[in-house]
């Protein structure tokens, strides 16, 4: 990585040399981060599975730093990198999260749930497989949504429709 700098900068004035070296280092770091992302995700999942309870990203980062590295020592990861990775894992449905204070703590999702989540993807995508599932509600046209609000408003009860940031009740 480092040897690219002088090569690119050969014959350039000293200032340009520094700039070029900086840019290529940043590029190389970006590439290696992308390459390492998959491995990091696996490692973080492993840490959370070994843990006794939910972990915050900070705790994940500490444990990550303590783990032995097969490919030699790795520079300490930034807090935001860890947060990015656990959020990605959460979005993939591999981690469940709970609000804890101002942030979240994470737990790995158990195998049965994982199997079910993969299954709903498969059943949803294949021809006619969706038809055997009795869904609680079918799709709602905008007209139906309006009707529904009118019905429930007329009922006097809470319509409680929109997905607010924290849901309705805990």
């Amino acid at each position: 990585m480092g040897e690219e700098g002088p090569f690119l900068a050969s014959g350039s004035p000293p200032g340009a040399e520094q700039q070029a070296a900086g840019a290529s280092e940043r590029q190389a770091a970006g590439a290696s981060e992308r390459r390492a992302a998959g491995a990091l995700e696996a490692e973080i999942l492993a840490i959370l599975r070994e843990a006794d309870g939910p972990l915050s990203p900070g705790e994940v980062r500490q444990r990550l730093a303590l783990r032995p590295q097969p490919g030699g020592p790795r520079g300490e990861l930034s807090y935001s990198t860890v947060v990015t990775i656990v959020s990605r894992l959460h979005a993939k449905g591999l981690l469940a999260r709970q609000r804890a204070g101002r942030g979240f703590t994470y737990t790995p999702v158990d195998e049965a749930s994982l199997a079910a989540s993969r299954m709903s993807q498969v059943l949803g995508s294949e021809h006619d497989h969706d038809a055997v599932l009795s869904r609680f509600v079918s799709g709602l046209s905008s007209r139906d949504a309006r009707l529904l609000r009118e019905l429930l408003a007329g009922d006097g009860g809470p319509a409680g429709g929109d997905p607010g940031p924290a849901g309705e009740q805990g």
Binding site: A115, S120, A131, S138, R143, A145, R146, L148, L152, G167
Partner: protein
Amino acid sequence: MWLLLLPLVIPALAGAAARPLAARLEPRHATWLLTTAAVALAACSMAALALLAAYAAARLPFLAAAGDYSTAVMRRGDPIPAAAGVAAALALTGGAVAVAVMFRNRARALAESYRRAAGLHPEDGIVVVPGPAIEAYALPGLPGRIVVSGRLLDCLDDRRRAALIAHEQAHLASRHHLFSAVARLAAAANPLLIPVARAVDYTVERWADEHAAAVTSDRRLVAQTIGQVALLAGTGRRRVAGMALGVTGPRAPRVSLAWAGPVPRRVAALLTAPPRRQTILLAACTVIVLIAGVAALLAARDLHALLELAQGPRSQ
């Protein structure tokens, strides 16, 4: 051969009557009536098509030779144009192919569902799936499983969760997927019955809703749960649903369910009095379906009699 028209016309009648019947009848009765009627009418209309095709085929000289009957007598005694016979044969073939394809697809889907349900071992029969989806469904199997997304559970309070679970349990316990599959097969045989199959999809939902209402002893609670989940799922998928609210303008109608989808109709049904048993209506529908069956049988007997007549005096 007006007799043969009855088994072909009555399914059209059933298609038109299915939705009003589904709205009026008690859901369990409606499901049984509509499913059995769909099967019976599909069978009758297939039989009528087969008879029409048989009349046309009976004029073919080589069949007449093989059966040793007079094509002249057949022509005289048979007012059905040959084109109608050919059309009937084509419709019959198309229906048979559609049933076969539908049967294969459904059987595969159900086998897949049973296999996957067997692979899930949640503690209480309920599988909570992670991820951002708002979804809840019953996965048929032995035993079946209820699959709910964690995010949906987070949005519901305890009583609404109980209503949701009771609804899905009713689907599994009463094997609603089989009613739906059988009605779809009938509709594959005769597309005039598609509205009946849709009505069955609706009445099994109503059946499960009424079960949930009985379990929670609160019809309003079930209505509100359906409404909340539908709006969560709907607005979660596309924001348009929420935005359309603001542009309804001054001619927004009073609540009319004439063209509404299933969800508002289910909610409206739960907000009114529980459905009552409608014996006379049930009996009337049964009689009409029986008429189609009798007509098909009589037509078959007529064809048989005509063939016997055409075979005539054997001595000739």
